[in-house]
């Protein structure tokens, strides 16, 4: 009996430690976001209300969808720099191929999404089969995608948002804003895919150690292609949602989302080198960034100070998360104790 106990104990503690670390980061970020909302009436008395929370959730929805794909790619040890362009192409195709016509929406929207997934798959093929570094491959595909959209539209993006997308971003379903219901469903599906399926396990395995994964028989090429295709799909979906929100597309609409999509994943506590991370953490990272943005916007500070503040807070959050600050405190405490003794 004693022998059994000593054999089991190490496995259990390791797993518990890993999960609690990630869960702590997620809970910390969530608490911080909630705290910021609760404290926001100090900045402006009208804040802290449901309408502020709704605004944050609405604006974070684009980032959440795009970050899921980015998170999967980062999990494999890659990086997807094409998401901004693919998102824009998704928006442009949504307005030009479908436009303000509800009748064609259900037939053509899947084609648009498949198109985006196809561009993502191209990234995956370059990375997994040809061995091009993800950074270069996705950048190249991003440039080509953006040029395609520019050439295709000739600079003027015609067309309007399809009514079902307007309904998604602005309507209600069962008394709740439909975009929030949609995002909740999306998060549930995304989390299940990443944490509760064999596909998800394969992605983790590739990110932890490509060699070990290969030896274990994980189909590296097809899994990597699927991961990048998912990222393309998510970026396209996000572009379509943005079209629904702002009733049209422009050729720069994806640019503001590229870096935040990476930031949400990393602030959420995933390793930029791959192998570790959780979609719940990315959700909390994105929520944190969006809440921060909305608060800083309300602060009435000048543009320069706003950017400085938001940069400092993000770096601060990462420092706390990395344990560096607690390490410094611990060593200072040790020295103080040592000097005292």
């Amino acid at each position: 009996m004693t022998v059994e106990a000593t054999l089991e104990a190490p496995t259990d503690t390791r797993r518990a430690a890993r999960f609690s670390g990630e869960a702590l980061t997620a809970m910390g970020l969530f608490a911080l976001s909630a705290g910021m909302v609760a404290a926001s009436p100090l900045i402006s008395p009208a804040l802290g209300s449901w309408s502020q929370i709704y605004t944050i959730l609405l604006l974070v929805s684009f980032l959440l969808v795009i970050s899921f794909g980015q998170g999967l790619v980062i999990l494999t040890g890659g990086l997807d720099l094409s998401v901004g362009s693919v998102m824009m192409l998704g928006g442009v195709l949504t307005t030009t191929w479908i436009g303000g016509d509800s009748a064609t929406f259900w037939g053509v929207m899947p084609v648009v999404l498949a198109f985006g997934a196809g561009i993502g798959a191209l990234n995956g093929i370059g990375v997994a089969m040809v061995g091009i570094p993800p950074f270069i491959m996705t950048m190249g595909v991003g440039i080509v995608t953006a040029s395609l959209a520019l050439g295709y539209t000739g600079g003027t993006t015609l067309g309007a948002a399809p009514p079902p997308l307007l309904l998604l971003m602005k309507g209600d379903i069962l008394g709740a804003p439909s975009v929030i219901v949609f995002v909740l469903l999306f998060c549930l599906v995304a989390w299940t895919l990443q944490s509760r399926t064999t596909f998800g396990r394969k992605v983790y395995a590739i990110g932890s150690s490509r060699r070990a994964a290969r030896i274990a028989g994980v189909p590296i090429v097809s899994t990597t292609i699927l991961v990048y295709a998912t990222s393309g799909l998510c970026a396209t979906l996000s572009g379509a949602m943005l079209v629904g929100y702002s009733n049209g597309a422009t050729l720069r609409m994806g640019d503001p989302y590229l870096l935040p999509s990476i930031a949400a994943v990393v602030v959420g506590g995933s390793s930029i080198l791959g192998g570790s991370g959780n979609f719940v953490n990315t959700i909390c990272g994105a929520l944190f960034l969006a809440t921060l943005e909305s608060l800083i916007a309300a602060s009435g500070l000048g543009q320069g100070w706003r950017t400085i503040l938001s940069g400092l807070i993000i770096v601060g959050a990462l420092l706390v998360q990395s344990g560096w600050i607690s390490g410094v405190f611990a060593s200072v405490a040790r020295r103080v104790r040592g000097a005292g003794g």
Binding site: L150, G155, L251, R252, A297
Partner: protein, 405 residues
């Protein structure tokens, strides 16, 4: 950023190639051909492609179709790229360069070099401070102060307002903002409760306005630079009462002024700001000078400020621009389309199709410009260097104060 630049460069290259092919096939024309270069920044919004299309359509309208060899180069958003583009145009012995300049000062040296070699530089909308270039712009016409006064008038001199600015650090944003603040600061009852940047993009303006509305739901009026269609979307989405909004010329914004429901909920205002038609006026002026029809030394020229109040909106029937109509059907153009593409006196050659595609209007010929030009006032750092602004720089030209401070 990098993407935009590289994409623009590759697209520019492609256009350059088509330009070369086109030029080769038209070699047999006996007349002297003027070598004209169109140099653009690239911002991805509708405005820039509209100006390029207007110039392309004019270059294909008789008699210019036989006289002009037009090549387009797009230089992203970095001044260095545009400097390099100008250099190669000068070396290619251009007769004229018509351009949206990226910086008011960074291009001065290369522009001077071009002038010394006999190249005529025509800048539209945005400007350079080099004296040997012609600046053709609405910027000195006072968008900021006139729209601000209009907003103050409709608020009865008091209320909480938002200010939606453009791209931080640009001379155009600074001029608009200072003009507007000159007015707002005279009225103690006007309180700017939130000021943010919409980057002249309706999507960004919409999201930033949504954030500002969460903090200040009781806002009474909004002053907005380009992107006002998004600003309007945000307040409409929020539901409830609307308020006076002054902004630029996006079709989606003007459409809002036609909406009976919005008007009943309190929307009114004025549509003003940067007209794409300036590009066409600048091109025609350059051609008149090059062909010897007009004698004019380099000068700063003012394009009239577009001005359409909410009760002056007149929908155009289909694609035709007639009877002073000033807003297009929402199905024909995107909400971010800048509507001021035509002027009965200065630019009658253009219709909606030509602004969308760059094709000339069938049967149209180039009409001469009115003899008189309007000289622009000195704007230090915008259209002149080491110069004094007039004492009444921010005087009202279009709006009149109906409410006294």
């Amino acid at each position: 950023m990098k993407f935009g630049k590289l994409t623009a460069a590759s697209f520019g290259l492609a256009l350059g190639l088509t330009g070369l092919l086109g030029a080769a096939s038209a070699q047999d024309a006996p007349q002297k051909k003027y070598k004209i270069y169109l140099s653009l920044s690239y911002s991805g919004n509708n405005w820039m492609s509209e100006t390029a299309n207007i110039i392309k359509a004019l270059a294909k309208t008789p008699p210019y179709d036989k006289m002009v060899e037009l090549k387009e180069v797009i230089s992203g958003t970095d001044p260095q790229a545009q400097i390099a583009a100008y250099e190669s145009m000068i070396d290619a012995k251009a007769d004229g360069v018509i351009s949206f300049p990226i910086s008011p000062t960074a291009l001065n040296r290369v522009v001077k070099r071009g002038c010394d070699r006999g190249v005529k530089f025509f800048m539209y909308d945005s400007t350079v401070t080099e004296r040997c270039a012609y600046n053709v712009s609405y910027i000195s016409a006072g968008f900021g102060e006139n729209t601000a006064q209009e907003l103050v008038n409709s608020l009865g001199g008091k209320g909480k307002i938002f200010m939606v600015r453009g791209v931080p650090g640009t001379s155009v944003d600074k001029r608009h903002y200072e003009g507007a603040m000159h007015i707002f600061s005279k009225y103690p009852g006007i309180k700017v409760v939130s000021e943010y940047y919409g980057y002249w993009d309706d999507r960004i303006a919409q999201q930033e306005t949504a954030k500002a509305l969460a903090a200040h739901p009781d806002v009474d009026g909004i002053w907005s630079e380009l992107g006002e269609a998004g600003t309007l979307n945000a307040v409409v989405d929020r539901g409830g009462k609307l308020m006076p909004i002054v902004g630029e010329n996006m079709n989606g914004f003007r459409q809002g002024f036609l909406n009976e429901d919005y008007k009943a909920r309190g929307l009114k205002g004025v549509s003003s700001g940067s007209p794409p038609a300036t590009a066409g006026y600048a091109f025609k002026l350059m051609m008149e000078i090059l062909t010897g029809k007009r004698d004019l030394e380099p000068v700063n020229i003012e394009y009239p400020l577009p001005w359409a109040r909410s009760d002056e909106m007149k929908p155009c029937q289909g694609e035709a621009i007639a009877d002073g109509c000033n807003v297009f059907d929402a199905k024909l153009v995107p909400q971010g389309f800048s509507t001021v593409i035509y002027d009965p006196a200065l630019l009658p050659e253009i219709n909606l199709q030509s602004a969308l595609t760059g094709e000339p209007v069938p049967g149209m010929t180039i009409q001469p410009l009115p003899k008189e030009i309007v000289k622009a006032a000195n704007e230090p750092g915008i259209n002149c260097n080491r110069c004094d602004p007039p004492a009444d720089l921010y005087k009202l030209t279009t709006a009149t104060a109906t409410v006294q401070p």
